[in-house]
Amino acid sequence: MERRKIVLDVNNDIYEVEVYPNETLLEVLRDKLGYTGAKCGCDDGTCGACTVIIDGIAVKSCLTLAVEAEHKKILTIEGIAVNGKLHPLQEAFVKNHAVQCGFCTPGMIMSSLAYLKEKSRPLTREEAKEAISGNLCRCTGYVKIVDAIVDASEKMYGD
């Protein structure tokens, strides 16, 4: 198996990194580039804890080969705060107590961010649930997470 050098654009930083063809994007982000925000939960595409945004769409980085992400724009949870100021979604998660153990939180935020950017308007509770339908949480019961997403959507796109 040949190692190959690829170029990854993570949160607008460009990295030249040597990867094997069988390395997932999640492995490369966490183990080679130090982006540990995306979490490895189920490792087979069920739980959504590894969700990142590639070229504007939410994907599961445990199901994405690193070589398939080359030359695409990868956004992780580490890249959404601006100049140290939390993203409105992050703020809403804090304010609404939408975090308990926190393991699923980066995935929840990245899934809802991609959904919100696509809709570009305040979300209903049903839409917020749809946004995170591919993310599992073992602690919160989801109510506070849905509260936070709706809250953030109103802050971002409300009048």
Binding site: M1, G45, G48, K60, C62, L63, L65, E68, A114
Partner: protein, 334 residues
């Protein structure tokens, strides 16, 4: 962290950019490779060592296989096999001429999967079984089953065949409207066959593709004359594969009757189950309770789930009939 993750097996990846390159590669690496497009179905199977190819040929870079085209004068809809479910859901052409395909796509998995999974991948989805969709270590404690070249089925002791379940969604609605599939065969020839004939009904090898062959395009004729519906039962409303599913297609008419009805069941056997209900339904009103009940009985009879998948065989059988009634209710409300 790396130790917690399940490493993928060793393979090389080949990324052709054009069909010409793809055809060259598939001859070069004959029988030692697998195709992948969205990767969402294949990567878990590789992690579980269900398959261990030497090479993966990625179709994701071949943009000519990603399209949706409707020829209005001929009433033919064509969808490239590399088209993602997300593109199908958002397509105005699909919304206008085959909205139930968009609705069906929306029920598959979850947003992160639909964003990258393709129609070709769903059509070629492997069969599933609780006894082999498990980790390598878990499987090791059982004898090799038919799926892996063994001589037994671990789900049904003493059975003579593999009972793995065909749980793909899109083929069910596509077969109901008589879709065809364009395959690139071993000789670099394009052949078009009814999607219904694409499936073998065998759990061990669910479709007719030989090594090196792949699905290039899906073709639906006379779609504007038909109306189709799809319903499925699953344990959770997202993520899960269907435990049973059903599609019904009829010819559009203003008389409130079944015209050229076609019913297809999914996830109740090792292939799509096409039900011949024309004798029972042709010309009958949507509210003909006797005819509907006869069809429900036929659906239950033709559903042959076994205890190797979500829910129980009895419940899945019953739900197949109930889903049909739900579709009829929609027709009555229209």
């Amino acid at each position: 962290m790396g130790e917690i993750m399940r490493k993928l097996p060793v393979f090389e990846i080949i990324k052709p950019k054009t069909e010409e390159e793809l055809l060259l590669f598939r001859h070069k690496y004959h029988e030692r490779f697998m195709f992948a497009s969205g990767f969402t179905g294949l990567i878990p199977e590789l992690k579980k060592r269900i398959y261990q190819p030497d090479y993966l040929i990625s179709l994701s870079g071949i943009s000519e296989y990603s399209f949706i085209d409707f020829e209005k004068d001929k009433d033919i809809l064509k969808i490239g096999s590399n088209t993602t479910l997300k593109v199908i859901i958002d397509s105005q052409i699909i919304q206008d001429y085959f909205p139930s395909l968009a609705e069906t796509s929306k029920t598959i998995a979850m947003p992160q999967i639909r964003n990258v999974a393709t129609i070709g991948g769903n059509i070629c989805l492997d069969t599933r079984c609780y006894y082999f969709n498990q980790s390598y270590d878990w499987r090791k404690s059982f004898d090799k089953c038919y799926k892996f070249g063994g001589a037994k089925c671990n789900a049904i002791e003493g059975s003579k065949r593999c009972f793995a379940v065909f749980a793909a969604d899109l083929p069910i609605i596509l077969i109901s409207v008589g879709a065809k599939v364009k395959i690139m065969n071993e000789l670099d020839e394009e052949i078009v066959i009814p999607l219904e004939d694409f499936y073998t009904g065998r759990g061990k090898k669910p479709n007719i593709l030989k090594s090196g062959e792949f699905v290039k395009e899906i073709i639906v004729e006379n779609i504007s004359k038909k109306i189709a519906f799809y319903k499925k039962f699953r344990l959770r409303q997202a993520i899960d594969f269907p435990a049973c599913s059903i599609a019904l297609s009829i010819e559009k008419n203003n008389e409130g009757v079944f015209k050229n009805p076609k019913i297809v069941l999914g996830a109740v056997d090792s292939g799509p189950v096409v039900i011949d209900a024309k004798d029972l339904l042709e010309g009958k009103s949507f509210n003909d309770e006797k005819a509907i009940l006869e069809v429900v009985e036929l659906i239950e009879k033709k559903s042959k789930p076994v205890n190797n998948f979500a829910s129980t065989p009895f419940y899945r059988k019953k739900m197949a009939g109930i889903l049909f009634k739900k579709i009829v209710n929609i027709l009555n409300e229209k």
